[in-house]
Subunit: 214 residues, 2 copies
Amino acid sequence: MTQQDTVGRILNAAETLFAEKGFTETTLRSITDRANVNLAAVNYHFGSKKSLIQAVFARFLNPFCALLDSNLDAFESSRTHESTDLHAVLGILEETLIASLKGDTNQERVSVFLQLLGLAYTESQGHMRRFLKSNYHQTYNRIVSVLQTSNPDISANALFWRIHFAVGAMIFTFSSLESLSAIAAKDLKAQNSAPDIVKMLIPFIEGGINNRIA
Amino acid sequence: MTQQDTVGRILNAAETLFAEKGFTETTLRSITDRANVNLAAVNYHFGSKKSLIQAVFARFLNPFCALLDSNLDAFESSRTHESTDLHAVLGILEETLIASLKGDTNQERVSVFLQLLGLAYTESQGHMRRFLKSNYHQTYNRIVSVLQTSNPDISANALFWRIHFAVGAMIFTFSSLESLSAIAAKDLKAQNSAPDIVKMLIPFIEGGINNRIA
DNA sequence: ATACGTTTGAAACAACTGTTTAAAACAAAG
DNA sequence: CTTTGTTTTAAACAGTTGTTTCAAACGTAT
């Protein structure tokens, strides 16, 4: 059992448990039990619980943002210089999200990770918000400015908020995905997988951002 | 200092602190300190911390749902029987939300309460979801069916999810309202009050739900 | 004033939290 | 084999949590 195994197993266990129970509700003991490692391993390898939380995010977000950046590079160099289509940008986001865990054994990780993002924004004393802001703001700013050029007739302020409405629609939906899916299955007899919901989400976001009604 | 005072002061303190720090991060001692009551008062008057959390929600949700129900009654009895306009339904929701705290000393309570709703859906072991479901599902179902009749050309399943996309956009936005407002103020030099954001949110939701693009 | 049910107060309780310690086990290199 | 640095282990630590206890204070009717 090498060090790689211990660190990776802790991250896997933490990722799952955090998404299920939240950060403060998840104890280090439940994490180390699930990972089959000693309790002290977390503090030895990560320093503190707070650092472990950030490491869970970094493991997903670093490759994701790198991939998104390169996809945006390819898109910007190949498009006509005149206009940027909102539909195309959302397509890149969706595609990158799905591609970021190609080959991953756990296909539910997108859903798990969006739940974590939701927690990061609601729970906690804001230390996760700060962490996300200071580490991934370049990629975030880039998305905003791309959407800006694709929607020049919407004020910067209105667009800013519409983007966060869209983020909220996505994060909230996946935060309570299992209970919502259960309701849909019972009341509507409809089985919706995570990709199904993303496919329904995209046109909702497009309609919301594009809406020109007062 | 009567019992009413004690109970009410605990609810006020809890409401504020829960919204600021989350449910598990808020200790009973911080609540009783802020309310200027003895620590044991919470368990005496509410039985447990869990019951206190539910009482906080009930105090807001009971009058709100009652008002919303009567507003929907008035609307349904006065409209043309043919169609129900989405715009009108959203207007009622907005109006009821604002009217539900007319005369309240704290005008920020809508914002506070939407933050709490966000926490109830992300944090916790789901006991709040169950509480909300079992106590307010009639009103919720009614909204869904009203929107159903106003959008007959969208499948029930798609509409179900679009409603939750809209709920998510609202809840998430208000959950992280202060940090988002700070960013908007700094980067865009724009001052947005809570009502301003609701006014921007409504057209976003309308566009999202109405969108007929594939 | 007396007695009674309700509410408050200070203190203690037991359980659980993240973190630290120091010894043991291990792996790799000389 | 011995040495060196790293990793794991079991135990303990100090602090905080929600809850309980029981006596004191209160209000109200008799």
